[in-house]
Symmetry: C2
Subunit: 146 residues, 2 copies
């Protein structure tokens, strides 16, 4: 993962430093949404907290970090690399798990149409959208391992 991380940094023309490599490695390894605290402990203090926040802001700036908040308003981040599939999120209020969800192509097309209508109606240019779903996993849920 180290080579991959270096490649990414190089591709986006940001200088290659150890903290950045470590953060990218961690994000590449999990490849699913994670809170800043979880990320911090995954990094085991190999990166200072202030640096972690700075690196996350760097990744946002080059547009490969998606940031949003959980239903409890905790900030959650995930790496989104070019070519990654557009997806949404499903939040379990029981275990706090956040699951990546892809909606059908057909549905996304309809959403795009709906968004075009909204753009006209409100005189907006809309670049991005998010669908968030909230609920609970049932006792068979693999993700929550209940």
């Amino acid at each position: 993962m180290e080579e991959r991380s270096k490649q990414i940094l190089s591709d986006y023309k940001v200088s290659i430093t150890n903290p950045r490599i470590l953060v990218l490695e961690a994000l590449l390894e999990i490849k699913s949404p994670i809170t800043v605290d979880e990320l911090q402990s995954k990094l085991k203090n190999k990166v200072a907290k202030s640096t972690l926040y700075r690196v996350l802001n760097d990744l946002k700036k080059i547009d490969i970090l998606n940031e949003f908040t959980s239903p409890e308003n905790t900030v959650v981040v995930e790496l989104v690399l070019e070519g990654d599939q557009h997806h949404h999120h499903l939040f379990c209020s029981d275990c706090g798990e956040i699951i990546d969800v892809e909606l059908s192509k057909n549905f996304e097309d309809l959403l795009d149409k709906e968004i075009k209508k909204i753009e006209k109606k409100f005189n907006f240019i809309i670049q991005d959208h998010r669908v968030e779903m909230f609920g609970q996993c049932t006792d068979q849920c693999e993700n929550c391992k209940k």
Copy 2:
């Protein structure tokens, strides 16, 4: 608005106090998303900050307050009373305005179907969903008054 506020508190069986009435009045008056800070200044220190947060939590508990975050992760609240139309949000990154948006009945039906598929696939019970749209108002936008 005072009577209306008292009625709401009484309906939901929470005790009728001045801070609660004042917060409800403010939320009823604007009836669109507002940050805690904006709400605080609208209330002109007639309600202590700690009390404001407490009252907001009370309203969440009785399920008439919708809380989410702006793209900059600022908490935003809005009153959602029974019978209010289900709606979503459109965020302008230029002026910060948050606009209530209703999607077509047809689209919501399709979203519900899509959600049913997700429930099956992930063994979830989904109670709620949100569609958020991000963009900029153009120069004719009424809301942003550019």
